[in-house]
């Protein structure tokens, strides 16, 4: 079994603050982390390996400094890691990103399961996982909260829906996107950290992936950002404190119309 886990390095959201003077994003000193949802994907790959054997390969597209995210995944126990890095990838939207990752997975060639986090915490699109599946003409199970069974040919997994969950069976290879409920990511071990230090991270560029240049980066991306702006920060409103007997009737009187109109 070979599990390919796709990850993205993102800025830690808790660190992202707005400069109130200029109303722009302050990113100085913002720490880069592995996208939180991808941590569950890595953990699930490692768990499946422990149960069924095989290797866990981590794949990421990003600038050279994304290598640190790959080393962190190796420290958790992944076997090897590949970084896709090339100026030609700059400006990729989800179409071009899923294409590039899919071309790398094709190059990896022998794989059984592709595992992604449900979405990245910076873009929040949830589009790259299904995109990879279509580029590779594979079935997908999105929003996976549990893998019920896995053998050489088939996977059975639970997908969280808004009103319950589905049990889905798919032949391999297959693309999964996983949610938080699936597991609890482990911390890297000391041995893992040592391995991560020594590990050789493979780097592939556009030419090595045999990509169609028209499908990469800006040219391969149908969407274009027209404008980026910071929304006006929400203002705190009226504060009630003191004796609940006094302010609760006032508050409820203010809220009554909104509640009635919301109930319609």
């Amino acid at each position: 079994m070979r599990y390919v886990v796709c990850i993205k390095q993102v800025p830690e959201t808790t660190d992202v603050k707005i400069n109130p003077a200029t109303n722009t994003l302050m990113r100085d000193g913002v720490v880069s982390i592995i996208n939180p949802f991808d941590m569950y994907a890595i953990e699930e790959g490692l768990r499946l390996k422990a149960l069924h054997g095989g290797t866990v390969t981590i794949l990421s597209m990003g600038p050279p400094q994304a290598e640190s995210a790959l080393r962190e995944a190796i420290a958790m126990g992944a076997d090897d890691a590949i970084l896709l890095s090339d100026r030609a990838f700059a400006g990729s939207d989800t179409w071009a990103t899923s294409y590039t990752l899919a071309m790398a997975i094709r190059k990896i060639a022998n794989f059984d399961l592709i595992i992604c986090g449900k979405q990245a915490s910076d873009g929040d699109t949830a589009q790259v996982g299904p995109g990879i599946a279509v580029h590779l003409d594979l079935p997908q199970i999105t929003y996976v909260r549990k893998i019920e069974s896995l053998d050489d040919k088939t996977i059975v997994a639970e997908r969280l829906m808004e009103n319950g969950y589905e049990v889905i069976q798919s032949p391999l290879p297959c693309v999964l996107t996983v949610i938080k409920e699936i597991n609890e990511p482990r911390l890297p071990s000391l041995k893992g950290k040592m391995a991560a230090k020594k590990a050789v991270i493979t780097t592939w560029n556009a030419a090595e992936l045999n990509c169609d240049p028209k499908c990469l980066g800006l040219d391969g991306s149908p969407t274009k950002v027209v404008k980026i702006f910071t929304p006006a920060p929400r203002q705190g409103g009226e504060v009630f404190q003191g004796e609940p007997e006094e302010f609760i009737p006032q508050l409820v009187a203010k809220m009554k119309d909104a509640v009635l109109s919301a109930a319609q």
Partner: protein, 401 residues
């Protein structure tokens, strides 16, 4: 390969681009020196190009796709159904789609996939659809990623819509990503604002990123269809007009497209959920301040009186007080109800990311410095165990329940 973005000799070192860059990719060592773009951080968003008054920043243009955009017509809405019942997000999309179609002078069309669904098509027409494309097949009784995707890909290729909207639900996000990749369309996730650019007639799609810390407006200048998933509860539902006329087009689909490698073995409805919180108009959410699983019944009582859904912070879900499907926030659901009660929730940025676009926020917390009060329309500082029962009783009285 040459750099895709450069600062040229027209630069007067004003530093406007440094301020404009949302990604901190442009730095200026000191005044009177040319700013430097860090290409590792740059996403080619073009904010600096717009900000520069001196035309001093050159950015690579996208190569033309060579697609004839005029061949694409009409605004499509994907009809999300469960067991044949049309979901409310569909009516929100029809309401918004109507405005876009009118602005473009195009038809509003609904795309309806399912089994034994012909009775419901009238409902789509009365909500504003000028045309309904129907694929009525037993294989489509419930959502399946591959065959639903195949059918939509076929219909898009057959009829060439200009705009294609879908709910940003589990189904919508899983489905249209497949379609957009296959037809090489632009797809923008989780939009909270849609408009037509009066000059170019392109669809302007506005969406939050970085957990709502920044907003981006995105367009698809040279590809069609322009596809977007739209967040629940942001758009107004279409008004029903029983006199509205529409055409029904029964579409035939080749057998091979209805096959699926993955298949659903069973569906288990969640017992505890009485309401999908993404669709709820009112949400009563609880956090760590509730202290135990039993205290959630205080929230349920209030929710029952208000007809609300019950939400929770990550802390409450991690303590196993309530299932994960109720979690609001960055690792849970993003919700946008009319009224959101945050009870015993301190308001970490990850939680705010999931609920700060709610119309009215009411926070109850004993800590007056809790960050939740910074976003609350009404903040109540006090002991939730005293306040929530009184609040419930008062609403019960006032609403006559």
């Amino acid at each position: 390969m040459s750099d895709p973005i450069k600062i040229n000799e027209k630069c007067v070192f004003c530093g406007a681009c440094v301020k404009a860059c949302p990604f901190g990719a442009i730095t200026q060592a000191e005044r009177k020196t040319s700013p430097i773009i860090d290409l590792q951080k740059c996403t080619l968003c073009g904010s600096c190009v717009v900000a520069c008054k001196f035309n001093a920043i050159w950015m690579k243009e996208k190569s033309s796709s060579g697609i004839d955009l005029s061949a694409f017509k009409d605004v499509w809405v994907f009809v999300e159904q469960q067991d044949g019942e049309i979901q409310s997000i569909t009516y929100e999309l029809l309401g918004e789609g109507r405005k876009l179609a009118d602005a473009l002078g195009m038809k509003l069309c609904a795309v309806f996939l399912g089994s034994n669904i012909q009775e419901q098509t009238k409902d789509l027409i009365s909500h504003g659809a000028d045309k309904v494309y129907v694929v009525d097949r037993p294989e489509l009784a419930h959502f399946q990623d591959e065959c639903y995707g195949n059918v939509l890909i076929e219909l898009v290729n057959r009829h060439k819509p200009s705009v294609f909207l879908c709910g940003a639900s589990t189904i919508g996000r899983s489905l249209v990503s497949r379609v957009a990749v296959k037809v090489h369309a632009g797809l923008t996730a989780d939009c909270t604002g849609l408009a037509i650019d009066p000059k170019t007639l392109n669809l302007l799609q506005t969406r939050p990123a970085f957990g709502g810390n920044i907003m981006a407006t995105i367009e698809t200048p040279a590809a069609r269809p322009q596809m977007a998933t739209v967040r629940h509860k942001v758009m107004k539902e279409a008004v029903v007009n029983l006199a509205h006329q529409g055409e029904i087009s029964m579409e035939t689909i080749a057998e091979v497209l209805l096959q699926s490698k993955a298949r659903r073995l069973k569906f288990i409805p969640e017992v505890e959920t009485t309401m999908n919180i993404a669709e709820a108009n009112i949400i009563v959410a609880g956090g760590r301040g509730l202290q135990s699983v039993d205290n959630f019944k205080l929230l349920r009582n209030l929710a029952d009186v208000l007809g609300a859904g019950v939400g929770a912070s990550r802390a409450a879900v991690d303590s196993n007080w309530i299932p994960y499907s109720h979690q609001v926030g960055q690792t849970g659901k993003t919700v946008c109800p009319k009224i959101y009660f945050a009870i015993g929730i301190s308001g970490q940025i990850q939680h705010l990311a999931g609920m700060q676009s709610s119309d009215i926020i009411i926070a109850i917390n004993k800590d007056p410095d809790a960050p939740i009060f910074k976003v609350a329309t009404y903040g109540i500082v006090g002991d939730l165990f005293a306040i929530v029962p009184q609040l419930t009783a008062e609403f019960k009285k006032v609403l006559g329940k």
